[in-house]
Amino acid sequence: MPWLNGKKVSALWSNYEESNVWAWIDGAWRKFEDDEFDATTNFAILAAHAKETNRNVDVLVESGRVKEMYVW
């Protein structure tokens, strides 16, 4: 799946497990890449900011994981 551009973050979800954060973007739950602890946290911070301020995001989704994110 290529870039999803100009989308909103409608919901966020996480639980007690390591690096397990998801965002509802463009009609589906998208899991943030969890190869690195801090990357998952960074994505969560950006997504929470985008949701709170209702800004658009561009996300690169590969292999079912969000790999990159812009918040505009």
């Binding site: 397990n20 509802w24 739950w29 602890f37």
Partner: protein
């Protein structure tokens, strides 16, 4: 580090309809209304005549506006303003009745130094963004006079911006 087999979210966020439908319901339902947001941003012009106007309002109650106009010297910014719910309803009703959501979205194509604006209406899931030439003279010269549906909404926002910034007019 990454592990397979982690739990996944099972609930879905409240479904949103198409933007017009959300707006339609939002006029009757405060919860739905709170999800809507409207943004108008205008900027451009030659350096000596540079103009910038920004207005953002959300149904959650936040509103902010800012103006910088090199030609007229107007300058101002709201601080901690709250959106009057009556004004918010007026704006949403204007959007609803104007037909602005029926105007097709197109990529912006304007000459350099044009004062360009965009109006964005969103329900948090879908958005409708329209670009337009905000300066009347430039719009005429470029044969890009904004449609009356759009002008109606933009004029309503100018009025709200004037109130918020305590200025007689915020128009370019």
């Amino acid at each position: 580090m990454a592990k397979d087999g982690k739990l996944e979210p099972t609930e879905r966020p409240e479904p949103y309809g198409p933007l017009w439908e959300t707006l339609d319901k939002g006029l009757e339902d405060a919860d739905i209304r709170s999800k809507l947001s409207v943004e108008l941003r205008i900027s451009g012009g030659m350096p000596a005549q540079a103009y910038y106007f920004d207005f953002r309002a959300s149904g959650a109650g936040a509103v902010q506006s800012e103006i910088r106009c090199a030609l007229s010297g107007r300058e101002g910014q709201t601080k901690g303003a709250l959106l009057d719910q009556k004004d918010w309803m007026t704006l949403l009703q204007t959007i609803h009745t104007s037909g602005v959501l029926d105007i097709p979205q197109e990529a912006p194509r304007f000459l350099p130094d044009t004062v360009v604006g965009y109006l964005e209406i969103s329900d948090g899931e879908s958005k409708h963004r329209l670009y337009f030439a905000a300066d009347e003279e430039q719009a005429k010269v470029q044969d890009k006079v904004p449609p009356p549906e759009l002008v109606k909404v933009v004029d309503t926002i100018y009025r709200l911006g004037s109130q918020l910034l305590d200025m007689p007019s915020v128009k370019p």
